[in-house]
């Protein structure tokens, strides 16, 4: 497969991978890294691309696994003394701008959900995959997907209602 063909193929879902990684890893930089890493892996195995039934779903699964590894590594690093412990605690400019926008509350609430619900809400409500596809990507069964969707959405609603009633965050 030629490079241009590969780029054309992956451009169709590259941003989806990025958004998915960002939902899990939160950091923009890390999400970019994750996307790059997954695409590189695909490129290295380009000989087998024809064998995969659904390359997009496969890439999503790869992204999930990559992010899980990253998150696990982060947990393990908790005991390390790192400089970031002393970083500027004031929210970044971008965060400040975002915070003014009430829509971003949804994002914040979303980030407090358990990883699995977060992933599933991302895939369903933002990327608009159907439950069967999500089940395949995450390697769980469809009823679990449905349950997680419902639980996640209700949780968001609950938090949103709180915010709207008190108008504070």
């Amino acid at each position: 497969m030629k490079e241009s063909a590969f780029i054309a193929l992956t451009n169709g879902f590259k941003d989806k991978l990025f958004r998915f990684a960002k939902r899990l890893l939160v950091s923009q930089e890390e999400a970019e890294d994750a996307t790059q890493e997954v695409l590189l892996k695909l490129w290295k195995n380009k000989g087998k691309i024809g064998e995969y039934k659904n390359i997009e779903a496969f890439a999503m699964t790869m992204t999930k696994n990559y992010c899980y590894d990253k998150l696990k590594a982060k947990e393990n690093n908790n005991l390390k003394i790192v400089h970031s412990n002393y970083k500027d605690e004031r929210p970044s400019l971008q965060r400040q701008v975002e915070a003014k926008d009430s829509v971003s509350w949804v994002g914040k609430i979303l980030d407090t959900l358990p990883e699995q619900q977060r992933m599933i809400i991302q895939l369903r409500d933002i990327e608009e995959y159907d439950n069967a596809e999500i089940a395949k990507m995450l390697d769980i069964n469809e009823s679990a997907v449905r349950a997680a969707i419902s639980r996640g959405r209700k949780k968001i609603r609950e938090e949103l209602t709180k915010k709207h009633n008190y108008g504070v965050g």
């Binding site: 990025f18 960002k22 970019e32 009430s102 949804v106 608009e128 449905r146 349950a147 209602t161």
Partner: protein, 145 residues
């Protein structure tokens, strides 16, 4: 009437029972202008989902340059072994240059004799020095009788 339908869809939505197309309908409705105040909060929700689907990665993907000669790597070993095998078969250690020889047997005999004499001469010269060794023999004979 539409409101009732939307509320019904919302209930279904939170139970996780809406279809993708129904969810799209909700997104369209809540990103529109006319949303009643009691449903205001869902505007944020669906607005966020719609906005998020437009987030894109800013960094361009870079692929490592494909190495066109990579497929040759496994054959390097094969080429090396072929070279060694050919080398072993075609190397002939007996290809030293032929020395001159005598055509006439008389001359050959003469020359051979000369050479042998020369060797014998040196041999005898060397043996002269060994006379001293007889002293050892004498001493031993004296002691052993």
């Amino acid at each position: 009437m539409e409101l009732a339908r939307i509320e019904k869809l919302l209930d279904k939505y939170f139970e996780g029972e809406t279809t993708i197309s129904e969810e799209k309908e909700l997104k369209v409705y809540f990103t529109g202008e006319t949303v009643p105040s009691h449903l205001e909060k869902y505007k944020d929700l669906f607005g966020y989902f719609s906005a998020q689907s437009n987030v894109v990665a800013t960094r361009a993907t870079t692929l490592p340059k494909a190495n066109n000669l990579r497929f040759l790597y496994p054959f390097i070993g094969v080429a090396a072994s072929v070279a060694i095998v050919l080398g072993v078969f075609f190397y002939n250690p007996n290809t030293t240059e032929a020395t001159g020889t005598y055509e006439d047997p008389e001359v050959a005999l003469q020359k051979t004799k000369e050479v042998l004499n020369l060797v014998a001469q040196y041999m005898n010269e060397g043996k002269k020095d060994l006379v001293y060794l007889n002293e050892f023999e004498n001493t031993t004979n004296k002691l052993l009788k």
